[in-house]
């Protein structure tokens, strides 16, 4: 927890999990520090089976991750006087933040390159294995279909930076971001962490869906601090824009 100086400011809760990108955690730390320097109280945590926390990834379920986010926000509220909570969902953490909002509510929600449909996301992770092996000069050792079969048969399959477990994928594949936020109408911020400066088709659809529900949505899609580099490695521009959005919430 990083304590801010604003008397009536919200608490900014970061939700991150799985972490497919080397720089994601670093980007979260940079954002939390920058936002705290602006006077906001922030809270970051490692959910079960992640980072320094206890837990077995084979036993992970989406409900367990949402339970952790709820426990984290309850703890954060008990440690601060903040009445409002702004959630920041990073990649798969967007699904977790949305699940936590459905249980504990939230004044606003920022989404960093959110996973929208977990089922599609898992398939994409499997495809990335093939691309990686090609980039290393290897012949792809396995097809996406074979990875699906392995997951079904063995209960686990390795993707690039973590292992997918059947228990987790089965629990999460039933959900999606629009469904979890069906009853929520707070202001939202959608940040695209891609090299492209135009919103992707998926993110455009999400923005339009939010707008059709009457959600006030602000979208950001670059240009980034590092035009050609990895936006996760250089998140400064996105952090500045999110700070402005936070300031505008009042």
């Amino acid at each position: 927890m990083r304590r801010g100086s604003r008397a009536n400011g919200p608490i900014v809760m970061f939700c991150n999990c799985l972490s497919e990108n080397y720089w994601e955690w670093r980007a979260e730390v940079a954002a939390a520090r920058a936002i705290a320097a602006r006077g906001y109280t922030t809270f970051s945590f490692h959910p079960r089976a992640h980072g320094d926390s206890a837990g077995d990834p084979a036993e992970l379920t989406i409900d367990g991750l949402i339970d952790d986010a709820v426990a984290a926000v309850d703890r954060a509220r008990s440690m601060s006087a903040a009445a409002r909570v702004v959630w920041v969902g990073i990649r798969f953490g967007a699904i977790v933040a949305a699940g936590a909002i459905s249980r504990r509510g939230g004044a606003a929600l920022a989404l960093w390159e959110p996973v929208i449909e977990p089922k599609d996301y898992f398939a994409k992770l499997m495809r990335h294995v093939l691309y990686y092996e090609l980039s290393q000069g290897m012949r792809p050792s396995v097809t996406v279909e074979e990875m699906r079969r392995l997951l079904e048969r063995d209960g686990r399959v390795a993707v690039l930076t973590f292992d997918l477990y059947r228990k987790f994928t089965e629990s999460a594949s039933k959900l999606n971001l629009p469904g979890l936020l069906a009853d929520w109408r707070g202001p939202a911020y959608l940040s695209q962490f891609q090299v492209h400066s135009k919103l992707s088709r998926e993110n455009s659809r999400l923005k339009d869906l939010f707008a059709s529900r009457g959600i006030r949505v602000t979208a950001s899609a670059g240009p980034h601090a590092s035009e050609a580099g990895d936006p996760w490695q250089h998140p400064e521009t996105e952090i500045d824009r999110m700070r402005e959005w936070l300031d505008g919430l009042g």
Binding site: E24, G51, M138, T161
Partner: protein, 275 residues
């Protein structure tokens, strides 16, 4: 090896202490995992310099807890520009390992535990950084576990190298953006660190996969090691594993080897001390 959490490793997790210490580029942050008291091996430390520790495939975290349960205190820390440590987030370069960060960690451990003896570990760039610490703080380092790090001047293009000369070689060279590659050689940076390792009293286990693009770099190392004296060849071992150390899902095997080597290494060191 079963990586599932046990009561012993969970107890080590609960005993962990977040720490920070001064590095050359600002504060470095890490986690100290104290050894279980009942089995504590006096002043034996395993240090894991590295990059992020977030995520579910956190073998460094689990390895540290496992080793701590076996009696070795561990320090995991973020190199500068990574995780929670200070510094600019830049892409690591083989020519510029962060040996100064590792040296700072060694000095920190010396303050925490006077007389600490340290085993350094690392994979890829982290391994290069660990080895570079031998140029700065060799006295307290007992050993080095070094896995799949780039050690040549530049990446040796495996496709071009395999294609050899002739039409295939030219096509592969064009695809890789180079029509003629300079003869491969170990980088001066690596040679300097490796020489410091050889000049120390420390032992080391270096591992490479035979099907990785780095295998050609390990060939250069193997050639260089033939020139070493008997004492150095006893202390510094190169293992060539069948397959890849960079393939998806290979990490558990690497960390299992680290744990078995550390246990064996410190086990025999303890025996030497006793004798």
């Amino acid at each position: 090896m079963d990586w599932a959490e046990t009561a012993a490793t969970l107890a080590r997790a609960r005993a962990e202490i977040p720490v920070s210490f001064a590095g050359p580029n600002g504060e470095l942050c890490g986690i100290l995992t104290p050894a279980a008291r009942k089995v504590a091996s006096a002043q034996r430390w395993v240090a894991f310099p590295g990059r992020p520790r977030f995520g579910t495939r956190r073998l460094r975290v689990l390895a540290a807890r496992h080793l701590a349960a076996q009696g070795f205190s561990c320090l995991r820390f973020d190199l500068h520009g990574s995780g929670e440590s200070a510094g600019d987030a830049v892409n690591p370069e083989r020519a510029n390992p962060y040996g100064d960060d590792v040296a700072a960690a060694i000095r920190y451990l010396g303050k925490v535990d006077r007389g600490a003896r340290i085993l350094l570990t690392g994979y890829c760039f982290d391994a290069l950084s660990a080895m570079a610490a031998f140029e700065r703080e060799p006295e307290t380092i007992d050993g080095l576990f070094f896995a799949a790090a780039p050690i040549a001047v530049q990446r040796i293009d495996r496709i071009a190298a395999n294609a050899g000369g002739g039409f295939r070689g030219r096509v592969a060279g064009m695809l890789s953006g180079r029509t003629r590659q300079p003869p491969p050689r170990l980088s001066d940076r690596f040679v300097s660190s490796f020489s410091a390792l050889i000049g120390s009293r420390a032992s080391a286990l270096l591992i490479y996969g035979t099907s990785d693009y780095m295998s050609a770099e390990a060939d250069l190392l193997e050639q260089a090691m033939r020139a070493l004296g008997d004492d150095a060849r006893r202390r510094v071992i190169l293992e060539r594993w069948q397959g890849s150390l960079r393939s998806v899902g290979c990490e558990p095997a690497i960390y299992e080897r680290l744990i078995s080597w550390a246990m064996q290494f410190y086990g025999s060191a303890e025996m030497r001390v006793t004798a």
